[in-house]
């Protein structure tokens, strides 16, 4: 599930995990109805939601896992074996008896994933599992997710606003915006939706304040014009995207118009579509900015 913050990903995950009751409709998980067979749905699921904060920091990693395992009614002997097995799998065995308050964010997230795997569920719901992690831990967590899916055959529902993560890990992607799924398909097929149309990207510094409206007035035959502002003070340029219509034919007009407004153009690409482009095309909103997808 790919969508910006506030799109409804977490709400959907919470409905599927029976933490919330949906206003209408239902879902079937592992053959069980989330409204009527809540206990069986819960037994079928493992969940990572809310990240590292959702553990008891005053307890050790082992104590945390032993406690949560007891809620899944596993035999006591099996609990200890399983906890050790998962701590080993997460490379945490040597620090298993330290309190989580002494762990790093990435280590706590690993404990959270281990918790989701305690009862060896066939389905995992992962809500932003790499949020706030450094690149090393993010990569480790992504590798683990890939392993769980490919090697252990688990069904993983990943909710994320990182398009690279969705592109890298998912067989199918549902794009969600303002509580609605606007498209669901394989990453390649989703990108093909944009491939057919022209896509021009201008990398620049100091674009005008109202760049989108300004360029729209000059290029009315381009379907979507969007500006993703970079942190220019830190050296990250802004990106202006022209999607669809006669985007390629309008390159000259756009370059001239931006120069007139003192915009420093770094490069100009006829680019390969990304999932963000798909998102923009489908919703007319940006994925990479904070908060909800911003309507154009």
């Amino acid at each position: 599930m790919l969508g910006p913050n506030g799109a409804g990903k977490t709400t959907l995950v919470k409905c599927l995990s029976t933490i919330l009751i949906p206003d209408e409709g239902t879902a079937i998980i592992n053959g069980f109805d989330i409204r009527k067979q809540t206990t069986l749905v819960r037994a079928s699921l493992g969940m990572v939601i809310g990240g590292e904060r959702t553990l008891y920091w005053k307890l050790t990693a082992r104590d945390n896992l032993l406690y949560f395992a007891s809620l899944y009614k596993m035999p006591r002997k099996k609990i200890k074996e399983r906890v050790d097995e998962l701590l080993g799998k997460m490379n945490l065995l040597d620090r298993a008896d330290e309190r989580l308050e002494d762990y790093s964010t990435g280590m706590r997230q690993k404990v959270a994933i281990a918790r989701a795997l305690l009862h060896d569920p066939s389905i995992l719901l992962l809500d932003e599992p790499t949020l706030g992690l450094d690149p090393t831990f993010s990569r480790q967590i992504r590798n683990q997710i890939r392993e769980l899916s490919k090697k252990e055959g688990k069904t993983v529902l990943l909710a994320t606003h990182y398009m690279e993560e969705a592109d890298e890990l998912c067989d199918r992607i549902a794009i969600i915006n303002e509580g609605k799924i606007v498209a669901a398909d394989t990453p390649d097929r989703l990108k093909a939706m944009v491939k057919e149309t022209e896509l021009v990207e201008v990398i620049c510094y100091n674009p005008p304040q109202n760049a989108e409206k300004y360029l729209e007035s000059l290029c009315p035959d381009v379907e979507i014009i969007t500006l993703v502002r970079g942190e220019e003070a830190k050296g990250t340029p802004s990106r202006i995207k022209l999607i669809g219509g006669n985007a390629e034919k309008r390159i000259g007009t756009v370059v001239d118009a931006l120069r007139k407004k003192n915009t420093q153009i770094i490069s100009l690409n006829i680019s390969v579509p990304t999932l963000e482009d798909v998102f923009i095309k489908l919703t007319g909103a940006k994925l990479t900015e904070g908060g909800r997808g911003t309507s154009q």
Partner: protein
């Protein structure tokens, strides 16, 4: 999957949930060792004002007019028993509701709710942790009472007193569940717990005999389990009565317990469903 659906209702597994919850809460308690200072000092501090109050009002620690209501002229042992049993009320009022709020604050409540176990066992575990806390506190107060305030505890009275305290705790579990339900809906139960604390102080015979209250207040007090527990324990310890002489109090305590537990579970389940529908269950 390790857990199969058919395994969801095993008695031993449910006991393990309660045990794990108790162990977790005891570990939390030990993580904050300042609590032991409170346990050591507070029993003395609680009793001392009553000694001075008794001396100021009746010129000593015995009173004939007090005896007319209480059946014993000894003011201090009466108060000590009131304080000990009221300790269980305090731990119950402030324990479970606050614990639910803390789970929401930590973000762990979602995980408790999304586990396949019956939530009642988690709540019982939480309430039992509070009872253990209350019992440790009560034990210290009993020792202080025996050593310094003339409380007499004989071997033959221990079992009946344990039984009465057990029944008191059951009734308080019902009130704990209600406060947990309030905490789910309103995100804090502290103020209500504070109000209830004073309801218990005023309408149950913690500090004075029930008979000194007006009739309507006595009737109100009879809806609270502490009233029966105090009357029964004082009858055994101060009036040296037999268990058979207080069977009525024990029976009524049991009736109040069942009503409170039923109400507590009903209210908690109702609030859980309500907050799940409104989407506010994880808020804090």
């Amino acid at each position: 999957m390790i857990m199969r659906p058919s395994e969801t209702y095993s008695f031993r597994a449910n006991l393990l949930i309660i045990w794990s919850e108790v162990v977790k809460n005891v570990k939390f308690l030990l993580a904050y060792p300042v609590i032991f200072v409170f346990w050591t000092i507070f029993p003395f501090f609680w009793f001392i004002p009553f000694i001075f109050q008794g001396q100021a009002f009746v010129g000593g620690l015995q009173s004939a007019s007090f005896e007319q209501f209480a059946g014993t002229p000894d003011y201090i042992p009466f108060i000590v028993i009131g304080a000990i049993l009221n300790g269980y009320v305090l731990t119950s009022l402030y324990g479970v509701g606050e614990s639910i709020r803390r789970e929401a604050y930590r973000g762990t409540l979602d995980y408790l709710l999304s586990s396949p176990c019956n939530k009642a066992f988690i709540l019982i575990g939480k309430a039992m942790s509070e009872s253990i806390n209350g019992t440790m506190y009560a034990a210290i107060q009993f020792v202080v009472g025996i050593l310094f305030f003339g409380i007499e505890l004989t071997i033959d009275t221990i079992m009946p007193i344990v039984l009465i305290i057990f029944l008191l705790i059951l009734g308080l579990y019902g009130i704990s569940l209600m406060l947990a339900a309030v905490s789910l809906q309103f995100k804090q139960a502290h103020d209500l717990a504070h109000t209830l604390e004073y309801v218990f102080y005023v309408f149950t015979p913690v500090r004075y005999p029930l008979q000194s209250l007006p009739f309507w207040a006595q009737v109100l007090g009879k809806f609270l389990p502490l009233t029966y527990a105090l009357v029964a324990v004082r009858s055994i310890m101060l009036l040296k009565q037999d268990v058979l002489a207080i069977y009525q109090e024990i029976f009524l305590l049991l009736v109040v317990d069942i009503a409170l537990i039923f109400l507590g579970f009903y209210l908690f389940n109702w609030m859980e469903k309500r907050t799940k529908s409104s989407g506010t269950i994880s808020h804090y």
